[in-house]
């Protein structure tokens, strides 16, 4: 089945960002884990580009 059989699974969500989305899922009895996120520290643009190349290599 496509999409790793998603349509036959119980939906469990990890939420990062607006907590309202987590609250809405909780209201419906859907398991949802809220992540903590904050704006990343500024890094030098050159280093940021290098890091994102590493990221792309993993794919």
């Amino acid at each position: 089945m496509s999409l790793n059989n998603l349509f036959n699974q119980k939906i469990k969500v990890i939420n990062v960002g607006l907590e309202q989305f987590r609250d809405d899922l909780a209201e419906q009895g859907v398991e949802c884990l809220q992540m903590q996120w904050s704006i990343p520290l500024y890094v030098d643009k050159k280093i940021e580009n290098l890091l994102s190349l590493l990221d792309d290599e993993d794919e």
């Binding site: 089945m1 469990k12 969500v13 907590e19 884990l33 992540m35």
Partner: protein
């Protein structure tokens, strides 16, 4: 007195900031207050509300501005002293000490069996988080906008290689296995599957299906740019394949704003060769009707898409329609409207609903100004000319502030301005219900309209609303309708019906003005 503090490099989501702002506004002695991130759009709001100060002006988009206008220094100090407490207040009743993981890897260990990562952080930071989700085997619901096309391509290409979905970016709506994600309605389970490159397009179709007796299996959002040539319909094709294989789905509806021709052809070819079910396609703004055949029916509007799906699955009879003779209503409204009123102003929170409105208005009235067309003849929602439609959910109006379906502050300000604009005869509004949306979406409009009707009884403006929602949504559907009707708001059964009525009233006004 005015006082401002700026907290540098903090992040709170825009909904939280909006809720805190509202709480502070209700305090005694507070004249005006804003707790916002320091984006240009929010700074414009500070200027408009008289809260701009040199400190606020100097803030960057990653700084939080707390700007207060109040009666005494003590009131201002009270606010600043209690601000952290309010920002970190637990509104959902969850365990305050519950650990929130900082990485997707940890989150997946904490919640085994997780299958969807929902992301709604600022878009310029979203890609690495989404990529981490994909590496951990999660499908992605990418609500964030302001993600670049290159990033979207990279995410979707990688996702495809792992048979995972990236729904987005700028994807507001999905229902997977009956679970509404982000902005989505409570819809009866049925046998119609939807794949949509449009959030409110999907919501309009699914709520019309529900209101007229049908139901859905899955609603897969692809994000608004999925059918651009650069992306090539990756998520659309994945969604079609999955719904094609899904036994519960008997018919598929495809909804999109105008796709790139090559991608439209690719999607149609895929359906003809790989899908063995009937399909209804609404490529809004395109004319594909000559390509309709026994399998694929091309329709021009969201309403048609819903009704065609209901008809082809046997829920309604052929010829079933939402159209009614509104000649009397048009005449009655035209006679009541203020003598200076000439134009219709559509104030939309849903991009696709707004776009459908532009197309239908152009069809009936000719030129319509909008930020939804290529020409983008509306660049400032407070300065519109002629017949006009503005999408207030557009990126221009949502950087650093909550979407108008969550926070109607900006849209209500525009509504107020249009009520007071002598040239405005008719105002069109979409009211979108469901999860993710404000629980009281009508509140600000009801307040403004009640004031206006009371203060200007001889300056009638017609207000026409279509409610995109189901009675099973968390909002109180009946109460909302009732409050609007008390103020002579005309409620129509679909966006298309609302727009047709508005256009016919404007046409009826022409000989009278």
């Amino acid at each position: 007195m005015k006082k401002t503090i700026v907290q540098k490099g903090v992040y709170y989501d825009s909904v939280k900031l909006m809720l805190v702002t509202r709480e502070l506004k209700s305090l005694d002695g507070v004249e005006e207050v804003a707790v916002v991130m320091g984006t240009d759009l929010n700074k414009d709001t500070l200027v408009r509300t008289g809260l701009m100060t040199p400190e606020a002006e100097a803030a960057s988009p990653t700084d939080m501005i707390v700007a207060v206008s109040c009666n005494t220094e003590e009131t201002a100090n009270y606010i600043f002293e209690h601000l952290d407490e309010m920002l970190n207040a637990n509104v959902s009743g969850e365990n305050k000490d519950a650990y929130k993981p900082k990485s997707v890897e940890t989150a997946v260990k904490m919640q085994p069996g997780s299958n969807i990562l929902a992301i709604s952080i600022p878009g310029s930071y979203a890609k690495p988080v989404a990529m981490e989700g994909l590496r951990n085997g999660l499908h992605i619901m990418l609500f964030s906008d302001n993600v670049s096309l290159e990033e979207e391509k990279a995410l979707k290409t990688y996702a495809q290689s792992k048979d995972l979905l990236v729904m987005g970016p700028d994807c507001g709506t999905a229902i997977i296995n009956g679970v509404p994600l982000c902005f989505a309605n409570t819809i009866r389970k049925g046998d119609i599957g939807i794949v949509a490159a449009s959030g409110t397009g999907a919501q309009e179709v699914m709520t019309l299906i529900h209101k007229n007796g049908g139901g859905v299996t899955q609603v897969i959002g692809t994000g608004g740019r999925d059918l651009k040539e650069e992306i090539g319909g990756i998520t659309m094709l994945q969604g079609l394949k999955a719904l094609g294989e899904d036994e519960a789905t008997k018919l598929i509806v495809v909804v999109s704003k105008p796709p790139a021709k090559a991608v439209a052809d690719k999607v149609i070819s895929f359906i003809r060769n790989e899908i063995r079910k009937p399909v209804v396609i609404n490529f809004l703004g395109g004319d594909y009707s000559s390509q309709s055949d026994e399998q694929i029916r091309f329709v021009s509007t969201l309403e048609e898409a819903a009704l065609a799906a209901l008809e082809r699955t046997g829920v309604v009879q052929p010829g079933y329609t939402l159209a009614e003779d509104h000649t009397q209503l048009v005449r009655q409204q035209a006679e009541k409207i203020r003598s200076t009123g000439k134009y219709v102003r559509g104030l939309y929170s849903g991009g696709t609903l707004g776009y459908e409105a532009v197309l239908a208005l152009q069809d009936r009235l000719g030129g319509v100004n909008s930020n939804l067309t290529k020409e983008k003849t509306v660049t400032d929602c407070f300065h519109m000319d002629g017949n006009a439609c503005v999408d207030l959910g557009d990126d221009q109006y949502t950087v650093g502030r909550a979407h108008p379906m969550i926070d109607s502050t900006l849209r209500a300000e525009v509504f107020k301005a249009e009520l007071q604009n002598p040239e405005t005869a008719v105002i069109l509004l979409d009211l979108v219900l469901g999860y993710g949306a404000s629980r009281t979406p009508e509140k600000d409009f009801v307040e403004e309209l009640a004031k206006y009707r009371a203060q200007h009884p001889d300056e009638y403006v017609a207000v026409i609303v279509s409610v995109c929602g189901s009675k099973d949504d968390p909002q109180n559907y009946e109460e909302i309708i009732s409050k609007l009707k008390e103020l002579d708001v005309i409620i129509m059964p679909s966006n298309l019906r609302a727009v047709h009525l508005a256009a016919d009233i404007i046409k009826a006004l022409a000989p009278l003005s």
